[in-house]
Symmetry: C2
């Protein structure tokens, strides 16, 4: 099934308690496509980069079935740049610098060949850009998934609320779910957010796993307990890529299959954090993924004779 991925492709500078990297390849759409291309191809990318973005990075993704027709290359401009520093708990980070560069006036153009795609993954990006892509599609995809963040809740809430009307699945982290709903209890937060448009809500809790809400149903997925989280950058995008990649591969949008999608996403995220940037995602293959999915099964499997 064909999948459209929208998001940034960028440079990151990252500092963690374990090390420092001044220029690594990042961006939501980069991580999503590295992750999703393990499960489904083709992937139709929509993004924008400057003349400074390495050609070989685009080529490596093309070799994995990621189509770059919708990726604008602005030769005389610079790619989006983000730098951040993580603290010991790896769940909190400070943004040191954000240079929008090519993202500042990004007008996505949907190639004709992208029409009629079944799946749409809107990676974290300006809600106005996400909305523009939605509006350029002549037929509504079978499933639209949105990832967003607190920054847009603060700076572009009306746009974000409009995007929410058009999506099926929303992914946010726990503090963002609380911010968007104004509720501390995640169960109450989910009830409110599910009235804002999405029919499914995924709350990412980092090392504490993820929750899936739909009507009165709830699913809890664990995170793999890891010896070290080397660099959490991109873990949420990698999770999103695993989720939508699994859904597109199986072409099944039931609640039951979304549960599996969340486990696949969690497994992919557990690889991502093992090295800087996309380094680990570039190494792994199907057998690594299969082994890790098996670990997830063993991690949560229990049998209980009711009393």
């Amino acid at each position: 099934m064909s999948l459209i991925v929208v998001g940034s492709m960028a440079f990151d500078a990252i500092e963690t308690p374990f090390g420092k990297n001044n220029r690594t390849i990042g961006g939501a759409a980069t991580y999503i496509s590295w992750s999703a291309s393990n499960f489904t191809r083709p992937i139709k990318q929509i993004s924008v980069v400057g003349g400074d973005f390495p050609k070989e990075e685009l080529k490596m993704l093309e070799a994995r079935g990621v189509i770059m027709e919708g990726v604008q290359v602005k030769k005389d401009e610079k790619s989006f740049f983000w730098s951040g520093k993580y603290h010991m708990d790896m769940n909190t980070r400070d943004t040191i610098e954000t240079q929008l560069n090519v993202l500042a006036d990004f007008q996505p153009e949907l190639p004709e060949s992208y029409q009629n795609s079944e799946y749409l993954m809107l990676g974290n990006l300006l809600p106005a850009v996400q909305l523009s892509v939605i509006k350029q599609l002549r037929t509504r995809p079978k499933l639209t998934v949105l990832d967003t963040m607190n920054f847009w809740m603060e700076s572009a809430l009306p746009d974000l609320e409009e995007v929410l009307q058009h999506v099926d699945v929303l992914m946010v982290n726990d503090s963002e779910a609380r911010q968007l709903s104004g509720q501390y209890s995640l169960v109450k937060a989910a009830r409110i957010i599910l009235k804002m448009g999405p029919k499914y809500l995924i709350i990412k809790k980092g090392e504490h796993g993820a929750l899936l809400f739909h009507e009165e149903q709830v699913f809890v997925a664990p995170a793999l307990p890891l010896e070290d989280v080397f660099d959490p950058t991109g873990a949420g995008d990698t999770f999103a890529g695993g989720f939508i990649g699994h859904i597109a591969r199986t072409n099944d949008i039931s609640f039951e299959n979304m549960k599996s999608g969340i486990i696949v996403g969690s497994a992919m995220a557990s690889f991502c954090v093992e090295k800087f940037g996309t380094d680990r995602l570039k190494e792994i293959g199907h057998s690594d993924i299969e082994r890790r999915l098996q670990q997830f099964k063993e991690l949560v499997n229990f049998d209980i004779a009711l009393v």
Copy 2:
């Protein structure tokens, strides 16, 4: 199988964002026995109370098969008293006041009828008191479980380290596991703690569930996502009671059965937090527990076709 429970029986004053209660019945051994008595009887209690402790509270527990022969009643003294205040996240609390009272010079005396018990649950208490009970037992129980807290790591570490030599299962929360091991990563913390005596380590993470470590095995249990956590006081003790109650009922100390014990403990804790103090534990029966265990199964159950 017979179970010895050691711990405080006390008065608590609790303030949460949802309400205030100036004098509720609490104490680790109180919660443990209310919880465990759903699964196993008799329970042989070891504790100390003052003349102010309500006789009817002891009688209610006796009616559930909790033997009070090892509970000292010091008529002219006051029971242990703790008051605390919870914040919005319900995972952090401030201790407002601690009055040790009868606990200050508590010398536990093990009744002869308590000898040869198969299971020993050492609730959170002075390590010296826990050690005294261990030493009074002529035969080592089939399984000894220890619950402790950061306070003893700071004030009585040598005693605590000695107790750890005699226990099979240690239960602490995530920050306590980090404090005891000096490691931030819980996987690394577990590896260190499992060299300090216990063969099994349970790390309680409140709303994020619990982890079980044993050699190279790991199990992750979810917490039930709750609409409101009304009062988290005693949730850890109630968890311990459900765990040891299940183990004693099934008389099976395998890793597989400990996984089930953790689910039972989590289910019991999810009841505890629904009302003040032990109020909710006093209401529930087997059918409530069975329904909740079923919810836990549905919460984590997933099936995945490996890619």
